[in-house]
Symmetry: C2
Subunit: 346 residues, 2 copies
């Protein structure tokens, strides 16, 4: 049976009690848990970028986060709240990318075993990186096997806890620490942000960021940045309910391919987001090249979505203070080379 590898993991829905959306206080508690483990990522400035768009742009460099993406924050916040018995039994997750590395690394730091179910055709670099963090990697065939079934079987066999990628209050609260940092760092620049643009797949990161900034910077509008054809958050916000992406779309943003917003994440996002923008593969590649050439940072396609929207003129930054979350940098070396070769000029 062919399994859509980006399907929402209904199997991994948390228990009814855990379905309550997190609060601002949960984000603060997550920040306390993370403080001894990771420092804040830099909020970078670029005079060249400011001049190009006529505004004051603040770049939240989650590509510089441990494991190369924001995912570590939520994974660690989730795993740190397991009780002693749960820790003994370890955790299971499935992911071909950043969530895999986040869960593997958080487990190792907490002295727990982790099993990550990854597609056999995932990039060798990502499989190696996940193993490098100490995880046991179980490979599956994404065309003939169900990763949910495999992960579920491992979980029940070992009594291990399944760690969902986004639709979980503790994951959302962990990702929300990105928003706390943005608010505090912008303040140090003497700025109250007009807008923040955040990439979304299942919507955990943007939901957390929105929770944090609704409290700390209520005048800041939060927008989602998505690949064209996978702009389910934007469409859902317009429709007022969760809608699915039409089938058949493709995107190089491998981290942003969830077919529909999460239930818990959308409960937050439909209240707190102001709208969204969508970007093409070409716009993303140009942004990856711009980031390497001008900003001197490496972004993966999904991590460049908000920057792509800005560079493509889809964000009105004229005279405004705008933050972009650059959510990850786990880039395939060959694709990075392709982008910088294809777009060598500003």
């Amino acid at each position: 049976m062919a399994t859509n590898p980006t399907q929402t993991p209904t199997l991994l829905r948390a228990s009814a009690a855990a379905l309550e959306p997190p609060t601002y206080d949960d984000v603060l508690a997550a920040a306390d848990r993370l403080a001894p483990i990771i420092g804040p990522t830099p909020l970078l400035r670029s005079r060249a970028l400011d001049a190009r768009v006529g505004g004051r742009i603040f770049l939240k460099a989650e590509c510089l986060q441990y494991t190369g993406s924001f995912k570590f924050r939520g994974a660690y916040n989730r795993l740190a709240q397991l009780d002693e018995g749960e820790r003994q039994a370890g955790v299971v997750a499935f992911s071909s990318g950043n969530h895999a590395q986040g869960v593997a690394a958080a487990s190792a730091l907490l002295g727990m075993k982790s099993v990550i179910v990854m597609p056999r055709d995932a990039p060798a670099a990502k499989i190696d990186a996940t193993r490098g963090y100490g995880a046991e990697v179980v490979l599956y065939d994404r065309w003939t096997e169900s990763r949910e079934a495999i992960a579920g079987a491992i979980a029940s066999e070992r009594g291990a806890t399944l760690v969902p990628p986004f639709d979980d209050p503790r994951i959302i609260a962990g990702q929300g620490t990105v928003g706390l940092e943005i608010g505090r760092q912008a303040e140090r620049f003497g700025e109250e942000l007009d807008a923040v643009y955040v990439p979304a797949s299942g919507g955990g990161l943007i939901a957390g960021v929105a929770l944090a900034l609704a409290e700390d910077s209520p005048g800041t509008a939060i927008y989602v940045a998505e690949p064209a054809g996978f702009d389910d958050h934007r469409c859902s916000l317009e429709a007022g309910h969760r809608v699915e992406n039409a089938p058949g779309a493709t995107s190089i943003c491998d981290a942003l391919l969830a077919p529909t917003p999460g239930e818990i994440t959308f409960e937050i996002n439909c209240r707190l987001l102001a709208g969204g923008v969508a970007v093409s593969d070409d716009e993303v590649k140009r942004a990856v090249a711009y980031a390497a050439r001008t900003l001197k940072i490496v972004l993966e396609p999904g991590g460049a979505a908000a920057l792509a929207a800005l560079l493509a003129g889809k964000i009105d930054a004229q005279g405004k203070a705008v933050a972009l979350v650059l959510s990850g940098g786990n880039m395939d070396p060959a694709l990075l080379a392709e982008c910088v070769r294809a777009y060598p000029e500003p």
Copy 2:
């Protein structure tokens, strides 16, 4: 007449009074001048790198500095001390790379005209970037014309001030702010650094860093990282006097090709440095690839020299706290692509 483009610019030697080496207080004053203009660059950590070398590594990311290298610091500190008349007449510099961009950008911020003499065959991206900062670029043929003569003629014709790349007390003091920041940022991590490795061409950056840390962190040993064949600082330290590189060597580290240490810089460096390491082109390319793949930052070859030494096992970091200055990120896109393609694996 064929002109060695890396020749020490004797023409640009400052006046006798200005030849006094700068002091720690000069570095502090430079920091005060720069504070309203640029924030500190991040001192990055990488658990992956720490695990690989068995130490605690601190990465001073000057690739994230305005203009893409540390050069802006010295240029701004130099230009900000010109008097009103000198400012009116503007400045002249020659450089095919980072000094060009630093001087051009500093001039623009101070409302001054700048003329940068660049070789006609410099990468178009660097010429465009220099013009982008508002400089007038004068091109010359590096095989038939003397850049010193051209710059000198422009300077005397316009009454403009020549800005040397490194052998100037105010340039050295400006670069020294890198050292001040390293000391303070390491302290925030609760560390007293065992060693700092700094790339050198004429030696202005490392002299400034050494001045700052001799005061702020006297237990820290300062080492130079240079390309093999251009390790004139290492050889000069061993010889106890300034020696020249043997002719005929080549290196991809285009920012590190000065033939001999500066006079003022060596006066400082021969007192304060502990020694040096030299790296091959291949080691540098591997470091560029590692930086992009694992650290998610873009380094130019010269900016990767200290990292190259660490990754090649030429720095004993076992159990130690070691900072590396990653001095610049103005990388040719095609060479970046070549490095990440050639070394896709950790």
